[in-house]
Symmetry: C2
Subunit: 322 residues, 2 copies
């Protein structure tokens, strides 16, 4: 295997740190990690700080990058792969404040692309984690050939805006890119989302009841972070047809209802207090209460998720318990 220089933004996040664990195993890889610990956690990556093939930079990518050490390093290295994972991942927070997705998703993409422009190789690959949220509340099974016209959250629209930027960037700079549109991702390093929220509420002894957002009938597909990383690595190595390549990744099952997640958590933590639901059918304005994914495109490439949505949820709940 060749020596590869790989840049990972958002390296301390749930997916970034999972990816780092895989990439660092190959001693021939040299990995440059960036994070500013907005959502990422130092504890997710600190075990690698002393490894010789990893260098970490604490940089806020939502501002123009002016790190001399990184600039100097990139003068020596040409990048083989750029995994741009730094982004807001908490949809709800971005509904309340539109600046969050603009800065942490769109501007990070703008600045990192501009920064790496001179350090690309002819065969560089850029990998970006987008989302099913770019489609909005479409009420039918989502495949890659459906137009993304109705994003209803700042999260979804800034992911779509970043995809657009990456498309022209790839074309104009002769690099291949991969846009992975992720479903709901779960795993032990969660920082937000339904399992995270509910388990925190359950653990909080001051709360007199468990308040669920929405009527509990929201149903979405879930995948475990470790499988998401597996799948992205697989697809990146097996296909790059166009200058920009779009893939839905995740399960194609019917997903899991919030009700079921509540039931599993209540059982696991032996929760005895009252559970209250809201009347509305979505958790918050901008939430897509139901969607399902067609994953034909990745399946045809030979990748199939081994964990169902329910498996992924159960695995995460066990991990949280520890």
């Amino acid at each position: 295997m060749k020596k590869k220089t790989i840049l990972v933004t958002g390296v301390a996040g749930m997916i970034g740190s999972e990816l780092l664990t895989r990439l660092i195993k190959n001693n021939k890889n040299f990995i440059i990690g960036i994070d500013n610990f907005t959502l990422g956690k130092k504890s997710n990556i600190k075990e690698y700080f002393k490894q010789k093939n990893f260098i970490f930079f604490n940089i806020d990518l939502s501002k123009k990058i002016q790190n001399k050490k990184l600039s100097k390093l990139l003068k020596k290295k040409k990048l083989d792969e750029i995994w741009h994972l730094a982004a807001n991942s908490d949809i709800k927070s971005g509904i309340l404040n539109s600046e969050i997705d603009y800065k942490n998703t769109f501007m990070t993409t703008y600045y990192i692309l501009n920064f790496i422009k001179k350090n690309l190789k002819y065969k560089s690959k850029i990998i970006f984690t987008s989302s099913s949220a770019v489609f909005g509340d479409v009420k039918k099974m989502i495949n890659e050939n459906m137009p993304a016209l109705y994003s209803c959250s700042n999260y979804g629209s800034m992911k779509l805006a970043s995809e657009a930027m990456l498309s022209s960037f790839s074309y104009l700079n002769n690099v291949k890119s991969f846009i992975f549109r992720l479903p709901n991702v779960v795993g032990e390093k969660l920082t937000h989302g339904v399992i995270f929220d509910l388990s925190n509420k359950i653990k909080n002894k001051k709360r007199k009841y468990l308040q669920v957002l929405g009527n509990g009938k929201q149903r979405k597909p879930y995948s475990h972070g470790s499988e998401i990383v597996d799948c992205m690595l697989y697809v990146k190595n097996h296909m790059h047809k166009s200058f920009v390549n779009y893939y839905n990744i995740g399960n194609n099952d019917k997903g899991v209802e919030v009700n079921k997640i509540v039931e599993l958590l209540v059982e696991k933590f032996n929760y005895k207090k009252k559970i209250k639901f809201e009347k509305k059918n979505s958790g918050w304005k901008g939430d897509v209460p139901k969607y399902s994914y067609s994953t034909k495109k990745i399946n045809q490439l030979g990748y199939k998720f081994s964990l169902s949505s329910l498996d992924a949820i159960k695995k995460t709940i066990s991990e949280l318990e520890k």
Copy 2:
């Protein structure tokens, strides 16, 4: 008819000034115009400066809006319509410098939306001029249900990024919006594009020959600015189904080859020098050399363009002659 307060950004541009001419005729309309004369021209709108139902602000919308007079005015008025036309319109310039489309298309959208947020009415409408360039070089007839996945210019990607932002903004703020994906627009107030470039080269007596970009076989649909404005006004008044409504507007004919445009200009200006073509099939990297539009959606609403692409070209050439 009711009194309407209408904000038009990019009011001094080719389309903005054409729109202003229509809107201002109705005395009950009060029009707030914004431009910073980057591409727009004072001469396009100065005849209206003294009219009582028009107020003009020279503001660069690519920066945070801090105009006290405008803020004060908007405290009194609730906006019925916002026509956000301010944008870069010169695709080629944005290929050389990616900051142009980022600032003049994306950031103007970001700042104007954030600025008007408090001054919307329940029935406000937002109109945005997007482009066929969001699709990239798709090599088949473009309709509204095709996914916009392969933008190959910064112009196209920042238009798509703005569409995305407008989608979630409309949903979260309960306003209807219209996204009009324009074809190549021509007219007497041109500031760039093939007719503008070639006629300037022809008029420049120092040039020893006429250099055409590309091999001359690029073929695109063209519409005249006046018809584009007609069509947008028609559609806005006749349909608003979703929170965000997408329309291809323009002709659905096979377009006109650059060769034909050269022929018409040479004839009109009685040009006698040599004409040189390039070997490449597009005018520049990021140019989409051929595309065609399905306009079924506007036709079904009852609107049909009266000028063909060739008519629009001929009309523009006559106007330029004056």
